[in-house]
């Protein structure tokens, strides 16, 4: 839920990166963190296991500038991708303003993508949201790997509502900011309608 503070003239929005295990959600956040000026970001918090798999969530606040005299701050979260952390995923979706689905382009991960997307739709519904109504962007990650599914095939399986789709290589930053901009823009456009 967008939080607007008239006293401190701030708009705070929550964006969640969703997707199957090891698809590159944390890598997206890490790249944004590494590429952002220190004054525009807070700490990158990672609640991870000893093997660096996300246990609960990753979080970083990002300040983009001012709109109509209000500072806009985006709170970026990732969810744990592994199937058995579903309870945590549900919690992190609470109060979400926009979602990025990070798909793993490797052929062998197609089923995991479909399962995770289905899980997203279901968990959004549990929280009272409808994927077709909320700001949403699809990122096709790991396009640099040799065994990737063609874009057309991924799109036909994963596109839900004509959402913006971005090819990405999160490890080198390709497509990372384009994805973030697209979802942030949708969130702010949504605010205009309120």
């Amino acid at each position: 839920m967008t939080f607007i503070n008239y006293a401190s003239r701030e708009i705070n929005c929550k964006i969640v990166y969703y997707g199957p295990g090891l698809c590159g959600k944390t890598t997206n956040l890490q790249y944004i963190y590494d590429s952002t000026a220190p004054q525009a970001k807070g700490k990158l918090i990672s609640l991870a296991t000893e093997t660096d798999r996300t246990l609960f969530f990753d979080f970083m606040p990002l300040e983009l500038g001012t709109v109509r005299g209000f500072k806009t701050r985006f709170h970026l979260y990732t969810v744990p991708g592994q199937v058995y952390y579903d309870a945590s995923r549900k919690l992190i979706l609470k109060g979400v303003d926009g979602v990025v689905f990070v798909a793993d382009s490797q052929e062998e991960r197609m089923d995991a993508n479909i399962e995770s997307l289905y899980n997203l739709e279901e968990n959004l519904q549990t929280q009272g949201y409808d994927l077709s109504q909320i700001p949403y962007v699809l990122q096709l990650n790991k396009r640099d790997l040799p065994n990737v599914t063609p874009i057309e095939d991924l799109s036909s399986e994963l596109v839900r509502k004509g959402e913006p789709v971005f090819e990405a290589v999160a490890t080198n930053g390709t497509g990372v900011f384009d994805t973030l901009k697209a979802v942030a823009k949708q969130v702010l456009t949504e605010l205009r309608k309120t």
């Binding site: 839920m1 939080f3 709109v67 709170h75 942030a184 823009k185 702010l188 949504e190 205009r192 309120t194």
Partner: protein, 160 residues
């Protein structure tokens, strides 16, 4: 569809700050926060030193979200309070509807005192927040919202 925004007006913010300032003194706390359950800091009062308040609020909300889910798994509806006791610093979190009152205190105070004083402050904060929620809904429906005037250029300028 995403939920309507939660809007705090200047006058409500100042009233919350007064309650937090009094609570901070009454329970000899280091710092007191009011945090949205989605993890956003609404207000705070006290000595934050070099604490990263944004991360702190996000983690406090994550903590309460996790313990609330654990409560349900054992047949409790909710844990209305969460306590973390450290060697020097401790944290008391009181759940007020969709917000959290978080008190950080040290050996100058006691858990009993913090619990007692927080209870009264919780009622006052709840009443201000109820008012803010009701006004948020009305404000969202009004066509006078300055956000209706946001242009595509305003949004694009954030990314240039």
């Amino acid at each position: 569809m995403a939920q309507s925004p939660f809007i705090i007006q200047e006058q409500q913010f100042q009233r919350i700050k007064i309650v937090l300032a009094r609570l901070c003194v009454e329970c000899a706390a280091r710092v007191v926060f009011l945090v949205d359950r989605d993890g956003q800091t609404i207000a705070f009062h006290g000595d934050i030193g070099d604490m990263d308040t944004t991360s702190f609020s996000s983690l406090a909300a994550g903590n309460v979200a996790a313990t609330s889910s654990m409560a349900k798994l054992i047949g409790e509806d909710v844990f209305p309070a969460v306590v973390h006791e450290g060697e020097r610093e401790s944290i008391f979190i009181s759940v007020i509807g969709r917000s959290l009152l978080v008190v950080v205190f040290d050996e100058r105070s006691t858990l009993g005192l913090v619990k007692l004083r927080t209870k009264r402050a919780s009622f006052e904060v709840a009443s201000i927040l109820d008012e803010a929620v009701a006004e948020s809904a009305a404000f969202s429906m009004s066509k006078n919202s300055i956000f209706a005037e946001i242009t595509d250029e305003d949004i694009d300028s954030l990314f240039s």
